[in-house]
């Protein structure tokens, strides 16, 4: 049941990203009897982060499966169920815990269609929170975008707002390939106005297509997930100083939408990438590589500036954690650097 918090004006509703993911899952489980949700505390506890709230009451234990704390076991089990033809949505309480199960994501699932020459596939979604939360320290704060994006056979998605969350998750569930779906805990509480069409039970966003959140002509900022928020705030601040930024929300990390990035930089001639994860071999590094290898390089007036997480395990102390990940002011500074 959709809980529409605040109908602002006709055709729009206000909802949180958490509610967006919840409503998308509910609709997909309703639509296809082979879809089920599985993970720790997803059922009777209503979800560790309340993302699956209400689904157990609505669908029962045959569709919403609470597991023991055994990532390798339940992830492998879900991949096996997908091999038989079911469509699991596997929730990792955080992607940090998914490292215990990563063999099944990569070796059992991502590579299967290739090794079997098309004989077996797994239509499965691995979803959960990714990246830093707040004060949860080193083992609970890693961003896995770069790791999963490297793997052939995987699709990797990362939503920012409610529109993204609904359209991408539904597209993921209906896709015949394995999908890694990287959510963000801080974004769960953020509210957005959502037009009616986004609430439609068949609202889908194309995989592999980035979204221009804000048009501009001086600098292209390429980013995803929570960093879209800071990039938009940076763009608003820079606007007041007469600098016009185009903000691209990648939405899909694999396959990366090269064309939208290249089209934008042909207009602005300057690029800043923003990600929360560590810089080495990260998404920004890949974007630099892509730009270098195509004619887009010759449209640059300056080298790409990357904004990344600092190369450290995440500290606990609040003041140190603030210095670990990009904030609005880092992005503002990066834009000014690329314009120098």
């Amino acid at each position: 049941m959709l809980r529409i918090v605040n109908k602002l004006r006709s055709g729009f509703a206000k909802m949180t990203v958490r509610e967006a993911i919840n409503s998308a899952m509910g609709q997909e489980i309703e639509r296809d009897s082979n879809v089920f949700l599985i993970g720790e505390e997803v059922g009777q506890f209503q979800g560790a982060y309340k993302v699956s709230k209400g689904l157990y009451d609505r669908f029962g234990k045959s569709r919403i499966w609470d597991t023991p704390i055994t990532e390798a076991g339940f992830t492998g089990l879900s991949v096996g169920a997908a091999m038989y033809g079911l469509k699991p949505i596997v929730e990792f309480m955080t992607f940090n815990f998914a490292m215990q199960a990563i063999d099944h994501v990569i070796n059992s699932s991502a590579k299967l269609n290739y090794m079997s020459a098309g004989g077996l596939n797994t239509s499965i979604v691995f979803r959960g929170i990714n990246g830093a939360a707040a004060s949860v320290a080193a083992q609970h704060s890693q961003c896995f975008a770069a790791w999963y994006s490297q793997v052939p056979g995987l699709i990797v998605l990362s939503p920012y707002d409610c529109d993204d969350a609904r359209g991408l998750l539904k597209a993921a569930v209906r896709n015949p390939n394995p999908v890694v779906f990287l959510e963000n805990e801080i974004m769960y509480n953020e509210s957005f106005e959502v037009p009616e069409n986004v609430m439609d039970k068949d609202y889908l966003i194309p995989i592999g297509k980035a979204k221009v959140m804000r048009e501009g002509k001086d600098v292209t900022i390429v980013t995803f997930s929570k960093m879209v928020k800071y990039s938009m705030l940076a763009a608003a601040e820079l606007e007041r100083e007469g600098i016009s930024c185009e903000v691209i929300n990648l939405r899909t990390l694999k396959p990366l939408d090269r064309n939208t990035i290249i089209q934008s930089l042909q207009k602005t001639h300057r690029v800043v990438t923003v990600e929360e994860g560590w810089g080495q071999c990260g998404i920004g590094a890949e974007i630099c590589g892509i730009i270098n290898e195509t004619n887009a390089f010759f449209h640059l007036d300056a080298p790409v500036v990357r904004v990344t997480g600092a190369d450290i395990p995440t500290p606990y102390a609040f003041n140190l954690e603030e210095l670990s990940f990009p904030k609005t002011h880092n992005i503002v500074e990066a834009v000014k650097l690329v314009l120098k």
């Binding site: 597991t67 096996g80 169920a81 091999m83 038989y84 059992s108 020459a117």
Partner: protein
């Protein structure tokens, strides 16, 4: 091929089964004998010979460098595969690790397809893209073919989960070795199977060695049939095709009524772990010879055939020759088959491959989908 059979194909022959060892089960729940017929005996003999000769042929091809990479042969263990074929149906799922050629054969691939795959030919079971460790056949519910020790166990548990979810009257046979039996993911998966009453048969092929490590050096508890803790278990002679068959029939019934079960099948592999292992640094040649002489699973069936005058030695030799011939023809065909075309390099990465960008070694060599 016509030969005289001294009794009707349909009159039954009774075979006494070896003793069982049980865990959380009563011995009287299990049969003491199995029945068979002349034609069935000959069919088992022929099929196991085909498996044996196929594996030996692969050994030869590897030594000729026509098969490369990893090759894990199962000669000595044929009765397990024959028994599972006899005890279960194609609606029951099977999954195993990398010692999978014989299962591929029994689940519908031809010797030619299997050998061609290992010889990296286009005509192979997975177009030459999988190799020895990666055979699959969805149509007969054979789910591979996996290279990571133990990974197949939760995967197989998931197959059983799906069967129960979809209310199928079928079970999943999850095969793994004594080495894999210490994997944590076995216990994670079996725990869920027991909690949710999944129709999962955890089948341990105990050939006494995990690669070069004997069971005593690897496992604190070598009674693998008890390792399921509260899950019932049975230990059998894996080299007795009838005991394998009857136990799987019992197991299927148990799974569909109650939940998972552990079966430990004692067996022996004549080859080392793989072709890079001579198999005699951790066991003696005498031990291997002794196993061949006294415990060979094909000889066991042969002796029943001879004792019951189902066929005589020359007739069995004819079967030997015909199976050898079948394998030889498959090898010769595979030798002249083409390798996969280079366009196959980038196919099957995704189900809808045509929608995806696949990077080449150089950026300019990338495959760009039409939509981009």
């Amino acid at each position: 091929m016509i030969f005289r059979i001294s009794r009707s194909c349909f009159s039954s022959i009774s075979v006494k089964l070896p003793p069982f060892k049980v865990h959380h089960l009563e011995l009287d729940q299990l049969p003491q004998t199995a029945t068979t017929t002349s034609s069935e005996l000959l069919a088992y003999y022929k099929s196991m010979q085909l498996q044996r000769r196929m594996e030996i042929a692969c050994d030869n091809l590897y030594k000729q460098r026509l098969i490369r990479g990893f090759l894990h042969l199962a000669d000595g263990q044929e009765s397990i595969y024959e028994g599972l074929h006899a005890g279960l149906t194609f609606d029951d799922c099977v999954i195993t690790a990398y010692r999978d050629h014989c299962i591929a054969l029994l689940r519908g691939d031809t010797p030619h397809q299997i050998i061609a795959e290992m010889m990296a030919k286009q005509t192979g079971s997975t177009k030459g893209k999988g190799g020895s460790m990666h055979y699959y056949k969805k149509a007969t519910n054979f789910y591979g073919g996996h290279g990571i020790v133990g990974a197949q166990i939760p995967l197989g548990t998931g197959l059983a989960f799906a069967q129960k979810y979809l209310k199928k009257p079928n079970v999943t046979l999850i095969m793994f070795g004594d080495g894999a039996a210490n994997q944590g993911q076995l216990y994670e998966a079996a725990n869920m199977a027991q909690l949710w009453h999944l129709p999962a048969i955890y089948f341990i092929e105990n050939n006494l060695f995990g690669m070069g490590t004997s069971i005593d050096r690897a496992s604190a508890n070598t009674k693998f049939y008890t390792r399921g803790d509260v899950i019932p278990g049975i230990q059998i002679d894996g080299n007795n095709v009838f005991q394998v068959r009857e136990t799987l029939k019992f197991a299927k019934k148990h799974c569909l009524e109650k939940g998972p079960i552990f079966i430990e099948a004692m067996t022996y592999r004549y080859h080392g772990h793989s072709m890079s292992d001579p198999g005699v640094t951790y066991r003696t040649r005498e031990e291997v010879q002794q196993q061949r002489k006294t415990r060979d699973c094909i000889n066991y069936v042969k002796n029943i055939i001879l004792e019951n005058k189902v066929a005589d030695e020359p007739q069995l030799e004819e079967i030997d020759n015909s199976t050898q011939n079948e394998i030889d023809i498959a090898v010769e065909q595979a030798k002249v088959d083409p390798v996969p075309p280079s366009t196959e390099l980038t196919t099957d990465v995704y189900v809808d491959n045509e929608n995806h960008f696949i990077r080449g070694i150089l950026y300019k060599d990338s495959i760009v989908p039409k939509s981009q």
